[in-house]
């Protein structure tokens, strides 16, 4: 996933014609269950390996996003962090968040028909960078 983030940032920087990326804001969903430090370390490693000069000065900021689930049957919303699963189940959801439909049921009506409202995966909230000579030009991506 770290590799995908770096690849996506390079793609986006090229699309925007940035010469240097100065800041990258990465949002990490609760369902991914990743340690901030481990992921940040991986991102910084790869930044060096693949990023070349475009990314050398980029500061990486991680933001955690709580995972919220919403039942389509009864409308109930609940947080992933409030439920208890066993270790194998957490690991499976780490690999593929959709398999939460195999282990989680709506706490109020037992339905497996819920949406992963927020906190599903890793997304790039925005990147900042500079174009040519001019400094501090900014590009934001939702």
């Amino acid at each position: 996933m770290a590799e995908a983030v770096i690849a996506a940032v390079i793609d986006e920087a090229e699309r925007e014609g940035l010469d240097k990326v100065t800041e990258i804001m990465v949002r990490v969903g609760g369902l991914q269950q990743m340690e901030n430090e481990v992921f940040e370390f991986a991102l910084n490693e790869l930044k060096g390996a693949y990023g070349g000069s475009i990314l050398e000065d980029a500061r990486i900021i991680l933001e955690r996003e709580d995972a919220v689930l919403r039942c389509r049957f009864c409308g109930n919303e609940w947080k992933f962090s409030g439920i208890r699963l066993c270790e194998d189940e957490y690991e499976a959801i780490h690999f593929c968040p959709e398999v939460s439909h195999a282990y989680i049921r709506c706490p109020s009506c037992k339905s497996p028909d819920f949406d992963l409202l927020t906190g599903r995966g890793v997304s790039i909230a925005w990147i900042k960078g500079v174009k040519g000579e001019e400094d501090g030009s900014e590009s934001e991506h939702p």
Binding site: A8, A92, E98, V99, S123
Partner: protein
């Protein structure tokens, strides 16, 4: 922005050919033919990987007798080998629990597997597709560029109408169709006379055994 799309081509760059096995209908033998072709290609010396994209009723792990295997995590997911072929299936993560997935879940899980699986050098990646003409078909078209489609048909009239829709759709989009395999042949009936007009190869037939 979803970073997963940016890594897809790199993930598939060591894969020589992607063969997506389709037909639109369930029960025509897509999974059995995917597995049989994969095993045979492997026996011929090719490096083969199988991807089960029938996420709510996967079959390849059953056909290959893949028990007690689980992928390694090493900068991505390394698909385990069974019977000489690499197998990627959601079954590793769902176990045997019922796991209803709606369309967007199917797309998300598909993208997750494609973005994270480290195939390594592979001659043939065979994709077992679910029945229906929907999310997975559209996602393979947009996310697994270069896929070639293998159509499984059978002599039933119920199968023919959907097979024709699939052929029309792929033809409209100028996507490569390897040809049609007619499965479950019994007696004289065949769907081929109705399919031969589409200008695609007939690859052979398998009897109902």
């Amino acid at each position: 922005m979803d970073p997963r799309v940016s890594i897809l081509d790199r993930r598939l760059c060591e894969v020589r050919r992607i063969i997506a096995v389709t037909g639109g209908k369930g029960g025509v033998g897509k999974s059995l033919i995917t597995a049989a072709l994969g095993l045979n290609l492997s026996r011929l010396g090719f490096r083969v990987a199988l991807l089960d994209l029938d996420l709510t009723s996967p079959s390849l792990h059953i056909i290959l007798g893949a028990d007690d295997i689980f992928p390694e995590e090493e900068k991505g997911i390394i698909p385990p080998e069974v019977a000489g072929v690499k197998l990627m299936s959601i079954i590793y993560f769902t176990a045997r629990n019922p796991s209803p997935l709606r369309g967007p879940d199917i797309s998300n899980a598909t993208l997750e597997l494609l973005a994270n699986t480290i195939w390594g050098e592979v001659d043939f990646l065979m994709v077992d597709m679910p029945p229906g003409v929907g999310d997975v078909m559209m996602d393979i078209i947009r996310w697994m560029r270069g896929s070639e489609f293998l159509i499984v048909s059978n002599p039933s009239k119920l199968v023919l109408e959907t097979v024709i829709k699939v052929i029309k759709l792929l033809t409209e989009l100028d996507l490569p169709i390897l040809g049609v395999i007619e499965n479950m042949k019994r007696g004289e009936r065949s769907s081929w006379e109705k399919l031969s007009g589409f200008g695609i190869p007939f690859l052979g037939e398998l009897p109902y055994f």
